[in-house]
Amino acid sequence: MDQDYIKSNVLTTTLESAINWGRKHSLWPMPFGTACCGIEFMAVLASRTDLARFGAEAIRFSPRQSDLLIVAGRISIKMMPVLIRIYEQMPEPKWVISMGACASSGGVFDTYSVIQGIDRFIPVDVYVPGCPPRPEGVVDGLMKLQKKVGKEKLSDYTTSNTS
């Protein structure tokens, strides 16, 4: 669809807000937990801080059935092709949360074998700092992502907006 048909005007705002409301309250995460942040992510899913209240109920380990990739933990040079392949297998629209210091920037490990931040190679939407971040921090990151999803427009997904 071309840019001229889907201009942002008053007729599409209700439709947009309905679509965004549906998307942001049912983000299905796919955890890519490798190290210590993976254990904290499991604690986020457990009973004290419960991620299921935000709609992230269905934790599927299949990239074809999820729309949020949470990278938790350090990514080494042997694991990076696996991450790229999984990212490419997810269907649009998809978002990425980079959880922890190691995924955002390499963390404590400035060595030959750790990728210094996954945002060098894949696009990231929300960064959650901490080593490891507290579960409340991860929930805060998810809520910021929900706010970002709420601001999307239909014209973002047209062919003239591809980069």
Partner: protein, 399 residues
């Protein structure tokens, strides 16, 4: 009509149990050759989390490396901190105070409870029983609260220093620990009631992955994996460190060596750890937790650093690049009993303020190397049970 029997032509299938999979805990990859449902050959591939810990150790100070040791076995970080501090103290020939040793024992045993309960929970989740995972995590949150009261953070604690501890325990700590131990008793009883006599659990874990005594010694196994095969070896009793000889507890041994026995050894070890924690709280001596900072080895407490000139001088003496702790030339190796087995650090020093070589003896690597022998002849669905019972932690395996 005669029906002649022709043999069925079959081909073996190669299946990739990939590095991203829900039931391999962490980044493990196994390439399996299957004949129907039976596994004929399995080749594990590791190294997907290799981060260069040992190369980092050559650029960091003796005290700074303690923050890196937390990230190795991230289920029980205090055991790693204690193991590294013991080696550095042996190399520099320092003797710590009695209160330090008792606090280290108390926190190591709490980490052991946390590690075992997570392992039991994950083994149950892989075989389909979700309840123990949720009960276990609720208990782990209480233990995290205890760690936060003592050290400041939940997971990456970095609590010990070379020569003592970062800070003393707060007031009222004993009451909180006793409350959590009562909870632990209830949770372990609940999990055992749900699982021990359950028909499905017994069918899926008995006679699976049997390890004989000779194999256990040849493959270098230690910890619950060796004790479940009948080897009577527990470093807290045979080579006691950090005042473990003052405590009275039993060593748990099982005889069959299958997955069910390893699960039973771990639940019973939680009960023995609870016994040690109660004894440590009753007998806790009073005193300092840091040795005299004037010797030049350990950092002085923070309120002295900010409020007195001697504290400031000692602090700079230890941390500045040209001065500071100059350990003697030599090497040391101290083995300790972590929840997985024999964890030890091997430090070589050449007289400067950073170590020359830091090596971790990773119990997960030795324990995991027996996997390809255990899975042969079993079915594909036994693989998660066996991996779950080995308790392989990717951070320690790959370092």
């Amino acid at each position: 009509m005669k029906i002649t029997e022709k043999p069925l032509e079959t081909e073996r299938m190669v299946l990739n149990f990939g590095p991203h999979h829900p039931s391999t805990h962490g980044t493990l990859r196994i390439i399996m050759e299957l004949d129907g449902e039976t596994v004929v050959k399995a080749t594990p591939e590791i190294g997907y989390l290799h981060s260069g810990f040992e190369k980092l150790g050559e650029d960091l100070d003796f005290n700074q490396y303690i923050t890196i040791t937390d990230r190795m076995n991230y289920l029980s970080p205090l055991c790693n901190n204690v193991a590294y501090a013991l080696v550095a103290e042996k190399l520099m020939d320092i003797e710590v105070t009695k209160r330090t040793r008792y606090i280290r024992v108390l926190l190591s045993e709490l980490s052991r409870i946390a590690d075992h309960i997570l392992n039991i929970g994950m083994l149950a989740v892989d075989l389909g029983a979700l309840t123990s995972f949720l009960y276990g995590f609720r208990l782990r949150e209480d233990i995290y609260d205890l760690f936060e009261m003592a050290t400041g953070t939940r997971l990456t604690t970095s609590y010990t220093l070379v020569g003592g501890l970062m800070r003393d325990l707060p007031e009222g700590y004993g009451k909180e620990v006793n409350r959590v131990l009562v909870e632990t008793d209830k949770v372990v009883n609940d999990i055992e009631t749900l699982l021990n006599k359950n028909r499905i659990w017994q069918d899926r874990t008995k006679e699976i992955g049997v390890i004989s005594k000779e194999d256990a010694i040849s493959y270098g196994l230690s910890g619950p994996m060796a004790r479940a095969s009948g080897i009577d070896w527990d470093l807290r009793v045979k080579e006691p460190y950090s005042s473990y000889e003052d405590f009275d507890f039993d060593v748990v041994i099982a005889l069959n060596g299958d997955v069910f026995d390893r699960y039973l050894v771990r639940t019973e070890e939680i009960r023995q750890s609870m016994k040690i924690c109660r004894q440590a709280l009753e007998k806790m001596p009073s005193g300092d937790v840091i040795i005299d900072p004037g010797l030049g080895y350990s950092l002085p407490p923070k309120d002295e650093v900010y409020n007195s000139i001697e504290g400031l001088i000692y602090h700079f003496e230890v941390t500045m690049p040209n001065r500071g702790m100059m350990p003697p030339v030599g090497e040391a190796y101290v083995p300790t009993e972590s929840p997985n087995g024999e964890l030890g650090f091997y430090l070589v020093s050449d007289g400067t303020r950073t170590p020359y070589r830091v090596r971790t003896r990773p119990p997960s690597l030795m324990n995991y190397s027996i996997f390809s022998k255990l899975i042969e002849g079993h079915m594909l669905s036994d693989a998660p049970a066996i991996i779950g019972s080995i308790n392989v932690i990717a951070g320690e395996l790959d370092r």
